[in-house]
Amino acid sequence: MDLTVNGERHNLQVDRERSLLSVLRNELELTGTKYGCGEGNCGACTVLIDGEPSQSCITSASAAAGREVTTIEGLERDGELHPVQQAFAEHSAFQCGYCTPGFIISTVGLLSRKPDPTDAEIRSGLNGNICRCGAYTRIIRAVKSAAAGAEGNAK
């Protein structure tokens, strides 16, 4: 199958029912995307498929074939972190960091739909991601800061 990940097209010989997560991690060695619950509850495996946050653990690789997949590794540009990555780092929006790639990807998806979200919109926009360390307060701060930064840049 042909799988386009972070703008790069890969021709892969894999079982068609393999999960997208398994193919990303084991075939393409993109290990930033994490395995958490394996059943679509925790959000650690979130990637963008055609710009929409989706759980790669319950999405077959075939379902993503021919579409644009973006993982955490695909966000930086020319060695510069994506503004959302930068904001998460600046606000220390994590403890153990396992959920962070998923949260950042979901935030990118949220901000593309809602560039200036309220606290409530951030909470509902990130409702598919769980942080077991409980860094939510800092995560929300980071999202707000990333949104404000993006708006500042636009002006």
Binding site: D15, R16, E17, S19, G38, E39, G40, N41, G43, T46, I49, E52, P53, S54, Q55, I58, T59, S60, S62, A63, A65, S106, G109, L110, S124, G125, L126, N127, G128, N129
Partner: protein, 290 residues
Amino acid sequence: MPSFDYAAPTSLAEAVKLMGSSGTVRAFAGGTDLIDQLKTNRRNADLVIDLKRIPELQKLEMGSDGLHIGAARSCSDVHHDATVNRLYGGLADATGLVGSVQIQNRAAVGGNVCNAAPSGDTTPNLLTHEAVAVITGPSGTRKIELADFFVGPGQTVLQSGEILQELILPKPPESSASAYLRFIPRNEMDIAVAGVSSFIHVDPATKTVRKARIALASVAPTPVRARGAESVLEGKVITEALIASAGDAAVESATPITDVRGSAEYRRELVRVLTRRTLSICLERIGISL
């Protein structure tokens, strides 16, 4: 996960042909229920068919007979659609509550219907809008009322080889609205303890209820209409007291079980309260104050 074959047809005809393959064949739209069920051995399959690439199943458009929602169209698309938000408010409510943002991006309204969980969030509202299910199979296409679609938990009238193609929701009249509310202990990634959708059409001058439709989730083996509550409302002038009576009557249509999510008694109480609240939201949406 047990191994299975996988096909992603790009036409309805091809999909119907594949549905006739030997062994256990299961179709899915987003796969958010099915893949998990396969992983945990709650369902099995020799062949799994991904319906997302079939154009007919991606429709979302208003026709002369109402709104056509292709069975594989995602909850997110339905949730953000301007026509849905204007005319089918309860469906916008429900599609924004299913699972999480990620689930809504993958999961389809039609898939939620075919999964036939008694707790499915989108079904009660589809019932209140008197949705028609368009089913395609080896012997052609048939249409049935969605109310007749469910047989039991996880069971529908779909025969071997048949696919839910689309749902058609008749265009609601002016001065009508629908709403959906559910109760869960947390706000996301949980299953409704009880859910209620109401649809009401009120004469703006006399405040007389011309038509009422109420449907319940998670309180019976299948989604159910609360017909008693509907007849309490119809033909009467809407008042707070009438809304309260409708809530009481809706409880009569609930036959809940006691399980880990809540007791039967608690669920009956939820039906009473959610029926009242959804009716009040409908009136607010229509612009009628009591």
